[in-house]
């Protein structure tokens, strides 16, 4: 792709970007949200057309005017949200829309035979008649890749493929990618997880603000290099300093908590001014625990004490009255209301208290303005719909909702998922500042770097029970993984 330029009303999304892909290589494409990565890929996939510039494949200029064109040219994109028919089986999904036919009917023998061949190419072991909805996210991804291969893709674009995979599944994916590379397929790997990019890519192209700012060859790929190019400045202290250990009160005490899906009593203390990281594998039950504490899920036994006082929390309204806040894992579905504007979102939990039961629009504007300034939320205006903000700014809105209530306890579930480097760093600073001001913070996260970098203590969960709590000096990757996979603290 040469000299690709793309303009949208008011924004120059891509400015004369060159991007080349060699046969049998894995090229990383990184950049902050809004840098232009997805625009570039969409142009390649035929979803948009560039205003300027050329695309050539195997030195032949091509015109890609539609998704069909790109598929016909052997380009396949595997999106972050998988496009599979969950109620159909693996083989049907691989050949969806392109089933081998015998006259009018589907040739099932041929379908399964060809699927078997593709399945072995990607290392999928599940029987082909399994319904896709019963597969793990990792296996579903393999189905997507097989699907792309069935369309004879020679160029595969993977967009944030590991965001819902366990570390084991991610490794398996990399194996498959290496195998494909050896068979001649070229891949573009888009990810925010720089350590993965480092591991799997042969080289990395960096975009920033719609321009190509650099390329890093294999030997020099290092996180700091990548970050510097992506952000344009040196983020030396990525994680803010840990708080000094000071004696502080027990903000929340959970005793003998049981709820649906937990395998044993959960008991732990949370101190004011600390960041308690909650680590574990996907599916360990951390979100469910937070749900039970916050009143989303009913609990079957146990109690929660807030600063020594027993709090009967049966609904989020109760939790809020007890001075708690929860920023949910699924930002787009639960953290914010996408079709409402910034100020409406920020004030939703608190607006009932300004001048009940009336609307106090003046105060609403005031609170929203304060929060936007305090968290540095980039939005053209307070009345802009949240769905038009970048992921990082959406998350800040989700946070701002709670901050305006001044909670004493704040639970954050995957606070930086899918957010670019620059915004992540800002959010980490915000979290640290919050804790330093006395708020007790619980941070559930699946990113080990985040847990290790930010937490004062770490609690680890495995399959619905708490396997151990690590003090500041005990926190390291090994110990956490050990506990997360079922080892017991002290062993």
């Amino acid at each position: 792709m040469q000299g690709i330029t793309k303009r949208f009303p008011g924004v120059l999304a891509l400015n004369r970007v060159d991007f080349e892909l060699f046969p049998a290589e894995i090229c990383g494409l990184i950049g902050e949200n809004g840098a232009g990565k997805s625009t570039l890929i969409r142009i390649l996939a035929g979803i948009f057309q560039a205003d300027d510039g050329e695309i050539s494949l195997h030195s032949q200029p091509v015109r890609i005017l539609s998704v069909q064109d790109s598929l016909a040219l052997g380009v396949s994109v595997i999106h972050q949200e998988l496009n599979l028919a969950s109620n159909l089986d693996i083989a049907s999904n691989i050949f969806l829309g392109r089933e081998p036919r015998k006259g009018l009917l589907v040739d099932r023998k041929e379908l399964y035979a060809r699927s078997a061949e593709l399945a072995s190419r990607v290392g999928m072991t599940a029987p082909l008649t399994t319904l896709v909805e019963k597969l793990s996210p990792g296996e579903q991804q393999l189905v997507e890749i097989a699907k792309a291969l069935s369309a004879e893709a020679r160029i595969l674009v993977l967009d944030e493929p590991t965001s819902s995979l366990t570390p084991t599944e991610a490794e398996k994916l990399f194996e498959v990618m290496r195998r494909l590379k050896n068979s001649g397929v070229s891949m573009v790997y888009i990810s925010h997880r720089l350590s993965e990019v480092q591991e799997i890519c042969d080289r990395v192209v960096v975009l920033r603000d719609g321009e190509r700012v650099g390329e890093i060859p294999k030997e020099s790929i290092a996180a700091s290099e990548m970050v510097k190019l992506m952000v344009g400045r040196d983020i030396s202290r990525f994680f803010p300093q840990h708080g000094e250990h000071k004696e502080s009160a027990v903000a929340m005490s959970v005793k003998g908590l049981r709820y649906e899906g937990c395998k044993s009593d959960i008991t732990f203390d949370l101190y004011s001014g600390e960041i308690l990281g909650v680590a574990g594998l996907v599916g360990a039950g951390r979100t469910e625990l937070m749900g039970a504490i916050f009143g989303i899920e009913p609990k079957s036994s146990g109690e929660v004490l807030i600063y020594g006082q027993s709090a009967d929390i049966r609904s989020p309204a109760d939790a809020i009255r007890a001075s708690m806040g929860l920023v949910p894992e699924d930002r787009k579905a639960l953290g914010v209301i996408l079709e409402m504007c910034v100020s409406e979102n920020i004030t939703l939990p608190s607006i009932g208290s300004y001048n009940p039961p009336f609307m106090d629009r003046k105060r609403e504007k005031q609170v929203a303005t304060e929060q936007v300034a305090a968290l540095d939320i980039k939005t053209p205006s307070l009345t802009h719909d949240v769905q038009f903000l970048s992921g990082g700014n959406q998350q800040k809105v989700a946070l701002a909702k709670w901050l305006s209530l001044n909670p004493r306890i704040l639970i954050l579930d995957e606070p930086t998922r899918g957010i670019d480097i620059g915004s992540k760093s800002e959010i980490y600073k915000l979290i640290r500042n919050l804790a330093d001001s006395g708020v007790a913070v619980i941070m559930v996260s699946s990113e080990l770097e985040e847990i290790i970098g930010l937490s004062d203590r770490v609690m680890v969960m495995h399959e619905g029970k708490c396997t151990g709590t690590l003090a500041q000096d005990e926190i390291n990757e090994e110990r956490i993984m050990q506990l997360a996979t079922g080892g017991v603290h002290g062993a």
């Binding site: 949208f8 009303p9 008011g10 924004v11 999304a13 809004g34 232009g36 997805s38 625009t39 719609g210 989303i296 609904s315 989020p316 309204a317 939790a319 809020i320 009255r321 929860l326 949910p328 579905a333 639960l334 953290g335 914010v336 209301i337 996408l338 079709e339 409402m340 409406e344 939703l348 939990p349 607006i351 009932g352 009940p356 039961p357 009336f358 609307m359 038009f388 909702k401």
Partner: protein, 320 residues
Amino acid sequence: MKKILGITLLLAGLIAAICIYQMTSTGSAAFFGSGNLSNLAQRIGILGIYAIGAGIVILSGGIDLSIGSVIGFSGVVMAMAVNAWGLSPWVVALGVIAMCVLLGVWHGFLIGRFNLQPFIVTLCTLLLLRGLGRGISGGVSQNLAHFSYLGNGSFLHVPIPFWILVVLGLIIGFFMNFTVYGRYLYAIGRNEEAVRYSGIKVNRMRTGAYVTCAVLAGIAGIVSVSYTGEVQPANAGLMFELWAIAAAVLGGCSLRGGEGSILGIIIGAALIKVMYNGINLLGVNTEWEWAVIGIVILGGVIADAAYKQKAARRVKSAKG
């Protein structure tokens, strides 16, 4: 606000078209003639009252199919109670409203607590109340005498039903725009779970919407039986919920929830009744009524969707 401007223009255009056609063919503007405006205002009044109820439920993310049956059943109860027990119609009216409150609570309970689909729950009420009305009356037409002021009277030359619509519209409009509950209802229509996570009692709010709808339908039923002086249990209010939904949708309530305004709903109701009126005045064969109205509503909705898509594409592209 653009939407309201749009449908107001449409309404004005429609009225203008009717008048022009009349002037050129019969030489007189019967639209503005003696009884016509008054009749029209009264019909808009009644439709508007229960359309607002439908609109409130729709914008909170639900739907109420029982409106027509509530209107019919309210009329039947009014007539039968007054005749059988000799009570004052006003007292019975209060009783009917109380019954509607309970119905709304029932809807809210089933939908909130058991997570049942509003479509099914209110559909069952539609059937139950219709059957109940026919059952208790034996299918026999009921008369209600000495209560015609509400439906037929005027104040300052404007029919009472229209006044009732204006007053209710102002009260509910105030509620939706100047209390937090309005904001909550719109938010629930957009994303109920996210609102729950923000500590708002979603079930309570939703029940409030269904109670409002049932009560408004009850009021419409009372005014209606006052207007006609009689009620036929089998078809009083039959299919009225469809007109309510049509008025609400024309007025800007998306069936997806989270959008709509009281003023818009009233204008939507006016559009429908003016169309009906136009069809009559222009001498179009009444057999074609529904076809004409169906086409106009569909046209309006398509135009609105097309406009929205264009606007959304512009903004989304800017995000890159």
